[in-house]
């Protein structure tokens, strides 16, 4: 079993709140510098930068989990990941259907830029990507699983845009492949207050919107190799694959 340093929650310049330096190329370079071996590209309600990040990551030996940070109807943020381009595209189509179409006001919300590997702008989504989609957390879970994906509610303990802020507490019968906690709490302390959630796998990530924050928060995946299947196993704590918040 090998140990891989992972930061599964990173925004690019496609997210309106993502800094202009957050191009896929810069993110991969910074991830390498930080010794990350697995990263997640999770823009708000968009997967458009995943493929480029995956391609650039592969050149540097960084495994890129492709997905998005989806805003549920309750306005709780959820990380969703997919193994293949086909499923990623089907999910993107679903997001496009479901998202509230609020025209982007760049002055207020920031730019939403999709770029190529030469950092040339190739597309600008016309509506605000952080808006809620017309699906609740259970419907998102069902959709993600119908596409063999992974569903991980983001920063569940954060005082805004989290399961706990929006729904008061994490539903005890929640269907999810893991929970992300913010960097402001340890897993141990979180479970002291929420012992009923100990059945879940936990991750911690940077939620980086600025380049210097990439890899500042991370967790360790114990896998045979970095792959979607192995990461899924670690979240399920199966076959010896597992996750730790700090290296051994």
């Amino acid at each position: 079993m090998n140990c891989y340093k992972a930061d599964l929650h990173i925004h690019t310049v496609l997210s309106p709140c993502g800094d202009l330096e957050m191009s896929p190329a810069n993110i991969i370079a910074k991830s390498k510098e930080q010794g990350l071996q697995i990263i997640g590209i999770t823009d708000h309600n968009s997967t458009l930068h995943c493929r480029l990040a995956k391609k650039l990551g592969a050149k540097e030996g960084i495994f890129v989990l492709c997905g998005a940070e989806v805003t549920s109807k309750e306005e709780a943020h959820c990380l969703c990941f997919f193994e293949n381009d086909t499923e990623l595209d089907l999910f993107q189509q679903w997001l496009d259907e479901k998202i509230a179409k609020i025209p982007l006001d760049e002055e207020r919300f920031g730019y939403q830029l999709a770029v190529n590997e030469y950092e040339e702008i190739i597309y600008q989504p016309p509506y605000l990507l952080t808006s809620a989609i017309d699906a609740d957390i259970d419907e998102i879970y069902a959709k993600v699983h119908s596409l063999n994906g992974l569903f991980i509610p983001a920063h569940v303990n954060r005082p805004a845009n989290s399961l706990m802020s929006q729904l008061g507490f994490v539903p005890p019968d929640l269907k999810a492949d893991g929970l992300e906690i913010s960097k402001h709490i340890t897993k141990e302390n979180f479970l002291k207050k929420n012992a009923y959630l100990k059945r879940f796998a936990f991750i911690q990530s940077s939620d980086a919107h600025y380049i210097h924050l990439i890899g500042e928060t991370f967790c360790m995946f114990y896998l045979n190799e970095p792959s979607f299947a192995e990461i899924s196993m670690a979240l399920a704590n199966e076959n010896g694959r597992h996750i730790k918040m700090t290296p051994d």
Partner: protein
């Protein structure tokens, strides 16, 4: 005032939780952040919201709220309805938006 009277006065639709129609109402609370409701709502209040997840019932029960008013013609899902029936805390529906229904509830309770 009890929930029955509220339903009548504001022309609300009883979606579920009929057992609780006699619950006494002593005030109102308006919020869509359930963490906020959990922290600040008080027993006996009618809670106006657009959230539909079944956690609204857990919080209504925890805070001993009189009823929940769901706005804009929204329909809670089956699990939420089931929980409302189980707890005997009514969910009431209105086509009005929060601003309007909250204003009418306030007026009614002052009167």
């Amino acid at each position: 005032m009890n929930v029955n009277k509220l339903v009548e006065s504001l022309n609300l639709k009883v979606i579920s939780g009929e057992k609780g129609l006699e619950n006494e109402i002593c005030g109102g609370y308006v919020s869509d952040l359930l963490s906020d409701v959990m922290g600040n709502a008080e027993a006996g209040q009618a809670w106006i919201t657009l959230q539909l997840h079944k956690n609204i019932m857990a919080i209504a029960s925890l805070k001993e709220l009189a009823c929940i008013i769901v706005v804009k013609g929204l329909e809670p899902n089956s699990e939420t309805i089931e929980q409302s029936n189980l707890e005997g805390i009514p969910i009431l529906g209105t086509k009005s938006e929060t601003f309007e229904i909250a204003g009418r509830l306030y007026e009614l309770l002052q009167g």
